[in-house]
């Protein structure tokens, strides 16, 4: 279709709309330009931008028990801020993120350092470290829910066999969040390892050679060469990981439903439950708006990192 629209004959009757001289063969007619751009852009506007507008707009409307909506201003937010469950959920989400993001990135960095230098069987280890990543978050939750089952799970059989004793894991208020962090870390680190490996291979080899000639120890090289050189890749994966973990949902839905006693009640699950269990859309959209603001802040940090890097390379 675009073939015909751009035929050279048509180019002469062309558009004042095109910014440059219409005779320029490198400038497409407006129709051609739209044919290239519009499908993707229209979908982005409809399915990315519009939902943000709906979230912010909808969060300002409240519902009464009959299901009638009316403009309520910041009522939804006021109610949220007066609700203990919201504060618990925010607390749980923050604790979850403060622990899981540094933990995952530290382990991923460890993986990357371990498999960086080629050696016998190293391809196997790289693949092994990455493999859990190919299991989706939902399937990871299904698998570990069975593995950690208090009666039937093999993990508890092992713990009992070696004398530690059975653990409740997801059934305990005190262990549930930690267990959630553990299974997400089991799955997630291999992914970030790949990014960090790419970063490690970009460090100029001369830096290490010079250090070796000076007799610097491995530890010394790690602290004074590797870490400073890896600052940007580490910051990048840290921010990207945080954006993902703020939206952690499937395992909470599948395994704990926010329990026991709110111990794993992450914000995303709160938003889901308000919308689809309590059918309180205004409140759910207020929660979505709060999540979007958090994601926006994370994205702004990410942009800054990108800009810093361009400045440094130019």
């Amino acid at each position: 279709m675009t073939d015909r629209a751009a035929a050279p004959v048509a180019a002469s009757e062309a558009p004042r709309l095109a910014r440059r001289r219409s005779a320029d063969p490198m400038q497409p007619r407006t129709l051609v330009l739209l044919a290239f751009l519009l499908p993707a852009l229209a979908f982005l506007v409809l399915f990315r931008l519009t939902p943000i507008v709906i979230a912010i707009g909808g969060s300002l409307f409240t519902q009464n028990l009959a299901g009638e909506t009316s403009f309520g201003g910041l009522t939804n937010f006021a109610q949220l801020f007066g609700d203990e469950r919201f504060w618990n959920s925010l607390k749980v989400t923050l604790i979850f993120n403060i622990i899981i993001n540094p933990l995952q990135i530290a382990i991923a960095f460890g993986y990357a350092l371990l498999v960086m230098v080629p050696g016998r069987g190293i391809t196997f280890f790289r693949a092994a470290f990455f493999l859990p990543m190919t299991l989706s978050t939902g399937l990871t939750a299904v698998l570990w829910n069975i593995m950690l089952d208090s009666n039937l799970g093999p993990v508890n059989a092992i713990l009992e066999g070696i004398g530690i004793g059975r653990q409740p894991f997801f059934l305990s208020e005190h262990q549930a969040l930690g267990t959630m962090i553990a299974i997400a870390t089991w799955k997630g680190c291999g992914y970030w390892m790949i990014f960090l490996l790419a970063g490690l291979y970009r460090i100029p080899g001369e830096l290490y050679e010079a250090a070796r000639i000076d007799g610097a120890s491995r530890w010394h090289q790690l602290v004074h060469i590797t870490l400073p050189q890896m600052r940007r890749p580490l910051a990048f994966v840290f921010v990207a990981d945080t954006a993902i973990n703020f939206l952690f949902f499937a395992p909470v839905y599948i395994i704990t439903k926010g329990g026991p006693n709110g111990a794993t009640d992450l914000l995303m699950f709160r938003a889901y439950e308000n919308a689809f269990t309590f059918i309180n859309w205004g409140r759910s959209l207020a929660l979505s708006t709060i999540i979007l603001v958090i994601i926006g802040v994370i994205a702004a940090i990410e942009l800054r990192l990108f800009r810093d890097k361009e400045g440094a390379e130019a």
């Binding site: 290239f36 852009l41 979908f43 990315r48 939902p51 943000i52 493999l131 508890n156 990014f195």
Partner: protein, 282 residues
């Protein structure tokens, strides 16, 4: 090299391999247990699989019963749905994102920078963040519980557009100029010249779009509630919350769903990692 130094190097190497092996065990054993359990007769699964001993990993008897008995359930339909949704998203998504990436790389137009900044912003916003307002939107379009609800929101992808733009902008401009002078249309240049050269990005972007759909959970959970449109991840998760879960089938279906996601990755991991990771870090 002194004997002293050589022995530290050896000790370091040994410690490295011991550490890697331990990590590999923790990461792989659950997966091995999953696959082995899926091949046990249902009666053996917990009798053997959760009693401490070698029987945990080495089954007495092997059977495909858990796989063959999936045929009568909703699982084949869910796999079909997932494959249909993911493959459609992959093909249509690659086409429209590659076209937009090409326009950003080659054409000059008003507000280009502003529009491209919007694309980048979309690339940075995780899809899951907007699931609930998206539900309201898709509902008002009358599309809840249709394939369209599952496919349409996932077609345009800011990151894939970005990858294509980077690739097309890196090609020499003379390539397009020569074709233009010969009278080729832009559509022809894009389809016959640019797209074939960009096959590594086509593969990478295609796999990204496929995987995102195949592994999605939150959106298909709410957007397609009926059994006819249930996708595979949701189908499996639903099985564990039902009374009297068939554990054998849960293992076999989880194994199958994991394998489907693994295959494209194994086939194309070289391109995937090279393109995806480096465009993320550049």
């Amino acid at each position: 090299m002194s004997v002293d130094r050589r022995s530290t190097v050896l000790a370091f190497g040994a410690a490295r391999y011991v550490t890697m092996s331990l990590i590999a065990l923790v990461l792989l054993l659950p997966l091995v247990w999953l696959v082995v359990s899926s091949l046990r007769p249902p009666a053996d699964i917990f009798a053997q699989g959760s009693r401490l001993g070698w029987g945990m990993l080495i089954p007495d008897r092997l059977t495909l019963e858990n796989y063959t008995s999936l045929i009568g359930t909703g699982f084949p339909r869910a796999v079909g749905n997932s494959l249909f949704v993911a493959l459609t998203t992959m093909v249509v998504g690659v086409i429209i994102n590659a076209a937009a990436g090409f326009a950003f790389a080659v054409f000059d137009f008003r507000f280009k920078n502003v529009i491209f900044a919007f694309v980048l912003a979309a690339a940075m916003m995780p899809f899951e963040a907007i699931v609930i307002p998206l539900y309201i939107l898709v509902q008002s379009l009358g599309l809840i519980d249709t394939y369209a609800a599952l496919i349409l929101p996932d077609l345009a992808n800011g990151f894939v557009i970005f990858m294509f733009r980077q690739f097309f902008a890196g090609l020499p401009r003379e390539l397009y100029e020569a074709a233009r002078v010969d009278g080729a249309s832009w559509g022809h240049i894009w389809l016959k010249i640019a797209l074939p050269i960009s096959w590594p990005v086509v593969l990478t972007g295609g796999i990204m779009l496929f995987m995102h759909q195949f592994e999605a959970f939150f959106w298909p959970l709410v957007a397609a509630p009926s059994p006819e449109h249930t996708l595979v991840q949701v189908a499996i998760a639903r099985n564990i919350s039902l009374e009297g879960t068939e554990w054998g089938r849960l293992f076999s279906s989880t194994t199958l769903a994991g394998l489907v996601a693994l295959v494209p990755f194994l086939l194309f991991q070289k391109f995937y990692i090279r393109n995806f990771v480096t465009s993320g870090l550049k």
